[in-house]
């Protein structure tokens, strides 16, 4: 079980690097979507008894993170008729280097924190932190609004990964509420992205600097 789990988490960490290295928006969206789907599978591996709700949550996660939100982003990309280049503020090579360093740092950081025996052998905690930092790097280092949304998705994936540690402790309603909130959050962000595109005729957030001191 742990082996499969670690494999998937490692896959998610690899997708971080892929996302950081993508130079075109569709591939970035794809990386985030695949990562979301990978994470959607994880609860099935962790849960000991399979009751219906777990399946529902997993299916909902995969559907939302893997299809609905990426679909929305792709649609926005199509309607906006924009250049599909990512246009990084932080170059790809530095991004990748920082992402790799973040992965190493996350392993070190997780090593410094005490873990329960059943989690000690897994990559869950380092994976979570690495994904979190990867998402933050995308948020800080990409100029297109859609790329930043992808960064936000990846950041959330990291937190979701961490949340799996508590899967037995957290009541399902709370988890569902959190998932719902995050989804609505991304939707709202999507709506605002759409309005900005219409208002400013661009999705380049470097142009959004009229509010300043």
């Amino acid at each position: 079980m742990t082996g499969a789990l670690n494999l998937l988490v490692a896959l998610a960490m690899g997708l971080n690097l892929l996302a950081l290295g993508s130079s075109r928006l569709p591939s970035l969206i794809r990386a985030a979507a695949v990562q979301g789907m990978v994470l959607g599978v994880l609860p099935l591996l962790l849960e000991h008894e399979f009751h219906g709700l777990v399946w529902v949550v997993a299916a909902a996660t995969i559907a939302i993170k893997g299809f609905v939100i990426p679909g929305l982003l792709r649609r926005a990309l199509r309607t906006a008729h924009i250049d599909r280049e990512v246009e990084p503020l932080l170059g790809f090579i530095p991004s990748l280097l920082l992402g790799a360093m973040a992965a190493i740092g996350a392993v070190a950081f997780a090593g410094a924190l005490p873990l329960r025996p059943e989690h000690a052998g897994t990559l869950l905690v380092p994976g979570a932190f690495a994904t979190l930092v990867g998402g933050l790097l995308l948020l800080m280092g990409r100029s297109k609004a859609i790329a930043q949304v992808c960064g936000y998705l990846i950041l959330e994936n990291g937190i979701y990964l961490f949340g799996l540690l508590l899967i037995h402790a957290t009541p399902l309603i709370v988890e569902a509420g959190i998932l719902l909130d995050l989804t609505v959050g991304v939707f709202v962000i999507g709506i605002i992205v759409d309005r900005i595109q219409r208002e400013f005729d661009t999705l380049d957030t470097r142009k959004l600097t009229s509010l300043r001191e």
């Binding site: 933050l136 948020l139 930043q148 959004l208 600097t209 300043r212």
Partner: protein
């Protein structure tokens, strides 16, 4: 009915409140508003004056009246009013000035009719008097602080009354800012005291310094020195004073210079002599030094001014310095264990406080009358006013003589007392610190001489010779109420000058309460007219004797003239005019010219800015055009305030780059903070 001080005080407070409320109700009707506000303020001032006199004249045996305000309204906080001798003394000052200035304002405020809202002016004026009076008689910290802030606030509103002028706006905001700083320092200082006492009432704070650690006590002292010092206008915290006093309406300037800056003296006396206990030596040395510096620099900068009201404002700084010299000497004597001398120093300081209040109030009212008649503050545009407004000129002259410390007027008495305190201080201690006494004494002498020079200039340029402008040409005597206000203060100047021993006796309860000594028995000789000294070394003087001697001597020259020169023929001819045709005002001595020698002597301090531009056609002797510019900027403005302002503004500009509009940077801040806090917490 038996009038008690407490009742009279309450009447006075209620009167101000009613006056303020009436002003707000009569916003649209300026004539009734004028009469109502200032009439009620005058009556309230009278009531307060009676309360203070009753209290002080009662002697040492009188109980201290205490009562609480708003008892039924505020069940949670008790605002207690307490009229002890120190409060009564300052109540005397504020009420006296309130009465005189209100009378003056009845005529003066007419100048604002149709131009500004007199109802607002009157309401704020009453509110300021209310806040100041309340602050003087507050018996607990809450009431004191609230009244203190309200006083600052109303004073700020009055200073910026004519806010359509940019100069006024700037001065108002500066005043406001400095008030805020002083309030902050005072609150902090009182917090330190409160920590030791655990109670808000002033009675519980008495001698609280004994219970505090020396460090905290020193910190509290410094905070109070800065806090009350800003209010009083000591150098170098005086920066707001020459800006704010001139731009206010003149009746307000008189109130501010006469009373509001004295609130700093009140607070300082209350705290240092009543609360903080026996002082270490350096407190007294600091206060004495600060006082000396303020006195000398105040008068020097006053000499450089040709704006009449700014000149008077700088003299306020000088006089605050003289007051602090007395108080500082008293603190030193308390340390060295000479309570009687300490009493002398304290009396000298407080006597000068009331003297300065009267003559500076009088001078500002005089300046207000001149301003009212000529519509200018620039002395270079005045002149010849003595013929046009003789009574105003006379009152101004009385004030000028008093402030120059010439006998027999009141300024002389208090400065003489200060000299006595300083000169006798030399023998009180063996430490090197005693050198400060003769030094300060010498500085005080210098100050007196320079002040006299300055008022020769102020009076001469303003009132004598020919009018220098059309404004001055068409000036006319001011209305009766205005003259009445000035006359009252002039009379007080004379009375305080001629009957010092009697007045010192009024202060007995005060010194008894604070130091446990009474001075009047030591000072006065049998006939009660002479101000004597405490030891054989000191001097004795009688202003009443001097005055009567002068009166006796006055007939002598007339007699001599009558005897020897009566028959001599008097020939009248034109003044020699160097061959020019007729005398013009342009030939007169100017204020700038008058002060030039002093400007040259103290060049190192003033660093005057001087700029001359000549234009000529063929020979430098026949100038076509000449432009001369000269001004003096204060050394503190140049060296302290401006650099500090520039530093802060630079920091502010630099930090604005943080908010550059880039959301990427904003996210980076969060990330960096996260990392930093993780490091900090682990």
């Amino acid at each position: 009915m038996n009038l008690t001080p407490a009742m009279l005080l309450l009447v006075s407070l209620c009167g101000y409140a009613i006056g303020a409320a009436g002003g707000m109700l009569l916003l649209r009707r300026e004539r009734p508003a004028n009469v109502w506000c200032f009439g009620v303020a005058a009556l309230s001032g009278l009531s307060g004056l009676l309360a203070a006199l009753l209290m002080l004249a009662g002697g040492t045996g009188t109980g201290i009246p205490q009562f609480e305000l708003f008892r039924p309204l505020l069940p949670y906080i008790h605002f207690s009013v307490r009229l002890d001798a120190l409060s009564a003394f300052f109540l005397l000052i504020v009420s006296l000035l309130g009465l005189a200035i209100s009378l003056f304002s009845l005529g003066y405020a007419k100048g604002f009719f149709g131009r500004k809202n007199v109802g607002v002016l009157g309401a704020l004026f009453n509110a300021l008097l209310l806040a100041t009076t309340t602050m003087f008689v507050a018996g607990d910290l809450w009431l004191f602080l609230i009244a203190w802030e309200l006083m600052a606030l109303t004073a700020f509103c009055l200073v910026s009354f004519e806010h359509e002028k940019a100069e006024t706006r700037k001065a108002g905001v500066l005043y406001f800012i400095m008030s805020h700083i002083d309030a902050g320092c005072i609150i902090l200082g009182f917090l330190l005291l409160f920590q030791a006492s655990g109670d808000y009432s002033f009675t519980s704070l008495h001698d609280i310094g004994a219970k505090m650690s020396p460090g905290k006590r020193d910190a509290a002292f410094l905070l109070f020195l800065v806090g009350f010092g800003i209010k009083a206008g000591i150098v170098p915290l005086h920066i707001w004073l020459p800006a704010a006093h001139p731009v206010a309406p003149s009746n307000v300037s008189a109130l501010m210079s006469g009373v509001i800056i004295k609130t700093g003296i009140y607070g300082f006396t209350r705290v240092c002599f009543d609360f903080l206990g026996t002082p270490p030596l350096w407190w007294g040395v600091t206060v004495l030094t600060v006082g000396t510096i303020s006195a000398v620099l105040g008068v020097l900068y006053a000499l450089m001014e040709h704006d009449l009201k700014r000149l008077l404002a700088y003299h306020s700084i000088e006089n605050i310095g003289i007051i602090l010299m007395g108080l500082g000497a008293a603190l030193m004597f308390l340390h060295t264990g000479h309570p009687l001398l300490a009493t002398l120093g304290l009396i000298a300081g407080l006597y000068h406080t009331i003297n300065h209040a009267t003559f500076k109030g009088l001078l500002f009212l005089g300046a207000g009358a001149v301003l009212h008649a000529t519509h200018t503050r620039n002395m270079e545009e005045m002149g010849g006013l003595i013929k046009r407004m003789p009574q105003t000129a006379f009152f101004f002259l009385v004030g000028a003589v008093a402030i120059s410390a010439l006998p027999p007027l009141n300024g002389f008495v208090s400065e003489w007392l200060t000299y006595q305190a300083l000169l006798q201080g030399f023998g009180t201690t063996e430490s090197l610190m005693r050198l400060i006494f003769p030094l300060s004494g010498a500085m005080l002498a210098l100050t007196g001489a320079l002040a006299a020079a300055c008022f020769v200039k102020a009076f001469g340029i303003t009132f004598l010779a020919q009018p220098r402008s059309a404004h001055a040409e068409h000036a006319h005597e001011v209305s009766l109420t205005m003259r009445l206000g000035m006359g009252l203060l002039a009379a007080v100047c004379v009375v305080l000058g001629l009957f010092p021993t009697q007045f010192v006796r009024l202060l007995d309860p005060l010194t008894q309460q604070i130091i446990g000594q009474q001075l009047s028995a030591q000072l006065s000789l049998a006939n009660g007219l002479v101000l004597g000294s405490l030891t054989a070394k000191g001097g004795t003087v009688s202003t009443l004797g001097l005055a009567s001697m002068a009166l006796c001597l006055l007939p002598i020259p007339f007699g001599l003239w009558w005897v020897f020169a009566r028959k001599t023929k008097v020939r009248r001819g034109p003044t020699w005019d160097c061959g020019q045709r007729g005398l013009t005002p342009r030939m007169e001595y100017t204020a700038t010219g008058f002060s030039k020698p002093i400007r040259m002597v103290f060049k190192a301090l003033f660093q005057p800015h001087r700029e001359v531009q000549r234009e000529y056609d063929f020979s430098p002797y026949f100038a076509k055009n000449l432009r001369f510019e000269s001004h003096v900027e204060e050394v503190f403005e140049r060296r302290i305030y401006r650099p500090a302002r520039i530093l802060i503004l630079r920091a502010s500009r630099r930090i604005r780059t943080l908010q550059a509009g880039s959301v990427h940077a904003y996210l980076l801040y969060i990330f960096v903070t996260l990392l930093a806090l993780l490091l900090f917490a682990s």
